[in-house]
């Protein structure tokens, strides 16, 4: 029996090629989108889950800050051995460091100081070396497989000596490269004991945060058990009340970065939800298509169904037959979908920079779930048409009556078209909003001029400055400790108006003279730093407008500020500079436009990290070459790196940029599928109405009249869908925009464009066939009246 169904299903599909093609394409695209996005979602949700003890590893947070005190971890282990099985600290070196082996110098950014317990807490398999002893000596270093290859090529790295920061370190282990789906990565590990040589007793200091502390809890212990003891631990060792410490599960870190987080890459759980929802939407649209086309197509099968019933078929047998046809179609669509997936995964992987191909393995579990998905789609999409078709009365077969004109089914079909276009229009609105917000952020006036500004390392700065300044293409050169786009650190400060026991912090920017001018930052009042005035170096401050507002100063110029830094041995803060405000700058966006502008204090310092160079727009290439030359002459062989400030700042919106592109792609696909469905329906409706069209033409209708007649109904449906999409789109987009301190206005414009695009596209889809039908010779359709 089943064989018979399959046979006739295949023959039927072959006979109606257009119908089959439309359905196959729509369904396979829908399935492919679903599959690809599922892979991405699975990858995102897999971060940090590869560790053996993932579920028992937590990070300690101080309030909303990820950085904790250095002695916290060992203290926890010593004082609470029944709660805490093990602890490990990380201190990633922020700046690139030189690793020297014989004559080779590699500058590596991803080096981390850590405790030997790292291998008991986390799972990083060692290819060489003993995890128990590898980091026991302060003069050990472990390197990743990739780093080993870079440094030592094919030779054995074990026992070799690498010099870092002037200290000889012995390679005691090689570890498997840290997987990409980790919240942090490292290419080399060194012992925290080594850090003691450089930081001394600051390692035992409770008054500063800088380390990341992870704990491995005993499986029977509840994280709240540990959280309960933290306040007393803090008051014991710091002498202060502190109740804000709490635990963050390891698997939570990727989606929930905190202040001062390790910050390699962070995921956005919202995007995971959004894309997952869209994937479901697209699949729904494809299934709706199937239902619509199948029920419209049913008009061609009234006779067949009637005949089969006359010959003895009952409803159950017919339903089974039509469901089998649905399954065959959806299974074929699945195969085609897998083809699309294989084709597009490399592109999508590249685009998202995630190795999604790795997840695309056809093991038993995934094959079963794919088959399950197909069955599900087949049932969902196929059941309504199956019931519809098997309900035809045999008697109608001989009257040549086509059932597809029945009221309830037509209403359902119309509703489904509107629904499809509601979803598609919503997606257009979303894609447009993302695009516009992105463009807004990229073009917004940041309060300084980031065009043609180059940032590079300020090594041997005085010499560098002089040489580069001589280059003809250089307009300006200056330097600072941080540049816009990097994190400006918080430092304690005090003003005369504040009580003496309060010590709030404010973001601080330390600069060389000329920095504000190089970046084109405007003074709101007062004056900028002047190199010639010695007091400017020792006791002058500039603040931004937000700081003035925050401090409640209407006349900031001349007000006194005490600025604090760490004391000599790093045990506490002391006044490092006291001085007067000489000027106020207009607020400028030194962080991403996700954040409002925070108060900022600026002062001169000889300590600089980065040089900023404004180059003449038409001499970029030659100037770059010149700068590179100067660097090679003055830096003693260090690798030369640089970036352009505007590109780097645009990069801050990478995730929005990517979201925008993905959205755009998905919207196009959703529209494609909806239009396929609309096209299919048009074909059937025009065929059905062939006689009517012929008659109208004979009675004098023009081609335009006919086209208007045929399109009118469909366009009404599209508009209805659009009307429903408006409130949902408005609400959803407004919610998304709250993520940004600086955002576009969600005006009528976006909705108008979305609506008219949808209508226009629908019109184009419908007109192709309408024009064909309208131009046909009326004699043909009237003659064929049976």
């Amino acid at each position: 029996m089943l064989k018979n169904y399959i046979k006739i299903a295949l023959r039927h599909l072959k006979k109606y090629k257009t119908y089959t093609a439309i359905n196959l394409i729509g369904l396979s695209v829908g399935l492919a989108v679903c599959i690809v996005i599922t892979l991405w979602v699975r990858y995102e949700l897999s971060y940090d889950k590869y560790h053996e003890h993932t579920n028992d590893i937590y990070r300690i947070l101080n309030g909303s800050t990820a950085a904790t005190q250095p002695p916290l971890a060992p203290t926890l282990k010593a004082d609470y051995p029944d709660l805490v099985e093990d602890v490990v600290r990380f201190w990633p070196i922020q700046a690139p460091s030189d690793l020297v082996y014989q004559e080779q110098v590699l500058t590596e950014r991803n080096i981390s100081f850590t405790d030997p317990s790292i291998f008991s807490v986390f799972t990083h398999p060692l290819l060489d070396g003993n995890p128990e002893t590898a980091l026991s000596s302060p003069n050990s270093i472990l390197i990743s497989k990739s780093l080993a290859k870079k440094f030592f090529k094919e030779k054995d790295p074990m026992g070799k000596t690498i010099n870092m920061w002037g200290t000889d370190l012995e390679v005691t282990g090689v570890f498997e490269d840290v997987p990409l789906n980790s919240h942090h990565r490292f290419e080399a590990l060194v012992s925290l004991d080594l850090l003691r040589n450089f930081m001394g007793s600051m390692l035992d200091n409770w008054s500063w945060n800088g380390f990341y502390t992870y704990v491995l809890l005993d499986p029977s212990v509840n994280p709240s058990d540990l959280e309960r003891v933290l306040p007393s631990l803090y008051s014991n060792y710091t002498g202060e009340e502190y109740n804000e410490a709490h635990l963050q599960p390891l698997s939570d870190i990727y989606f929930n970065p905190q202040d001062k987080d390790i910050g390699l890459a962070f995921g956005n759980l919202n995007y995971v939800y959004i894309l997952a929802t869209i994937a479901v939407f697209v699949l729904i649209i494809a299934c709706v298509n199937f239902m619509n086309l199948a029920t419209a197509h049913a008009s061609l099968r009234t006779k067949e169904v009637g005949m089969r019933k006359t010959l003895g078929a009952d409803k159950f047998q017919l339903t089974t037959q039509f469901l089998s046809e649905a399954f065959i179609l959806s299974f074929t669509a699945l195969l085609l979908a897998l083809f699309w997936v294989e084709l597009s995964i490399p592109l999508f992987s590249n685009f998202t920079e995630k190795p999604l191909e790795a997840l695309l393995n056809y093991n038993l579990a995934s094959i079963l779930s794919l088959i399950g998905l197909t069955l599900f789609v087949g049932i969902i999409a196929g059941s309504y048409p199956a019931f519809f078709l098997s309900g035809f009365k045999p008697i109608n077969a001989f009257k040549g009556k086509s059932n597809s004109g029945i009221g309830s089914s037509v209403i359902l079909r119309k509703g489904l078209v509107s629904f499809q276009f509601a979803i598609s229009t919503f997606m257009i609105v979303a894609a447009l909003t993302v695009f516009l917000q992105l463009r807004f952020m990229q073009n917004k006036d940041l309060g300084f001029d980031d065009d043609y500004v180059m940032v590079m390392e300020a090594k041997n700065y005085p010499l560098l400055h002089d040489q580069i300044n001589k280059l003809p293409g250089v307009e300006n050169i200056s330097a600072a400790y941080n540049v816009p786009g990097q994190r400006f650190p918080f430092y304690p400060f005090r003003t005369e108006e504040m009580p003496t026991d309060s010590l709030p912090t404010m973001r601080t920017l330390r600069v060389n003279a000329g920095f504000l001018e190089t970046l084109g930052i405007n003074m709101e009042s007062g004056r900028s730093f002047d190199e010639q005035r010695s007091t400017d170096l020792t006791n002058s401050f500039i603040i931004n407008s937000s700081a003035a507002k925050y401090l409640g100063w209407e006349e900031p110029i001349g007000k006194k500020i005490y600025w604090y830094d760490f004391n000599e041995d790093g045990t506490s803060f002391e006044v490092a500079k006291e001085g007067y405000v000489i000027g106020v700058v207009d607020d400028f966006n030194y962080a991403s436009l996700h954040n409002p502008i925070e108060p900022l204090v600026i002062h001169l310092s000889r300590e600089v990290n980065s040089a900023v160079i404004r180059v003449k727009p038409d001499q970029v290439e030659t100037t770059l070459a010149g700068i590179r030359r100067v660097w090679n002459e003055t830096s003693g062989g260090s690798p030369f790196w640089y970036y352009f400030l505007d590109e780097e700042l645009d990069n801050k919106y990478q995730s929005e940029l990517k979201l925008g592109k993905v959205f755009g792609g998905l919207t196009s696909l959703a529209l494609l599928i909806s239009c396929l469905g609309l096209f299919g329906l048009t074909v059937f409706t025009t065929n059905q109405r062939a006689k009517e069209i012929g008659l109208r033409k004979v009675l004098g209708a023009s081609i335009a009249n006919i086209i208007a007649l045929l399109s009118k109904d469909f366009l009404k449906l599209v508009l209805i869908g659009f009307v429903f999409a408006i409130p949902i789109g408005w609400f959803a987009m407004n919610t998304w925009l709250t993520d940004f301190a600086y955002k576009i206005d969600l005006g009528i414009g976006i909705f108008f464009i979305a609506g008219s695009s949808a209508v226009l596209i629908a019109l184009l889809t419908v007109s192709y066939h309408s024009i064909k039908a309208a131009s046909a010779n009326p004699v043909k359709s009237l003659k064929n009246e049976q």
Partner: protein
């Protein structure tokens, strides 16, 4: 076999009521060959549909094989139809996607017969109608006469007791038409009850009895004297 008492069939739309059959009384015994004649629109097809359990009368009684089937649901009617009634239509109504053989075996499939038995019976029916040589062809590849022969094979393959034919020669030329009527006569000789709706007096001559319908009533009934062989 068939007893119709005071059959009435009314079709209503929102505004119009059409009486297709009015007070029709008919009795057909097993083994009879009855022709139903009348002008277009007189209710012949409606009557045939009710006889074939494809539709229910609006009023009156209809007994088939001794059972009162006037008020049955479609599902119940289908049970009666299966294996008991075969249909032959003016426009053949073969399923285009199936081969000749598959068309003929279809009723047997729905009766749940296994494939060996089906093959046996379907091939026998095709032999009888001299269509075995085209068993793997599709309906579109056959002439009108051949298609009708396949349709007849399908109608008899399950050894139906009653065959209902609606203008069986309507779409055929006279030679093929004659062939078909000869086959029907043969079937009747072998014991199958045949009820045929026709326009053609020539075809009606093959029947034992002719019932004339006009505007939904039975007008006359004649017994024919001797029939064509």
């Amino acid at each position: 076999m068939i007893q119709a008492k005071n059959l009435k069939k009314i079709y209503s739309t929102e505004e119009v009521e059409t009486t297709a059959l009015n007070n029709v009384n008919i009795e057909i015994k097993e083994g009879e060959f009855v022709a139903i004649m009348g002008p277009s629109g007189c209710g012949k097809s409606t009557l045939l549909n009710i006889m074939g359990l494809l539709d229910n009368p609006s009023d009156g009684e209809y007994h088939f094989l001794g059972h009162d089937v006037s008020d049955k649901t479609e599902r119940e009617r289908a049970q009666f139809r299966k294996g008991n009634i075969g249909f032959i239509f003016q426009s053949f109504n073969l399923i285009d996607e199936l081969t000749v053989f598959e068309n003929v075996e279809l009723p047997l499939l729905y009766l749940g017969m296994d494939s060996t038995e089906r093959k046996e019976k379907a091939e026998a029916a095709l032999e009888r109608m001299s269509m075995m040589h085209r068993r793997n062809h599709f309906p579109q590849q056959l002439s009108g006469g051949q298609q009708q022969r396949v349709a007849i094979a399908r109608a008899v393959v399950a050894n139906a007791k009653l065959i209902l034919a609606d203008e069986p020669t309507g779409n055929l030329d006279s030679d093929h038409g004659n062939e078909v009527m000869k086959v029907l006569a043969e079937l009747n000789e072998q014991g199958t009850t045949i009820v045929m709706v026709t326009h053609s007096p020539h075809d009606a001559d093959f029947a034992m009895r002719v019932i004339h319908l006009f505007d939904g009533h039975v007008v006359t009934e004649n017994m024919q004297e001797g029939f064509h062989v």
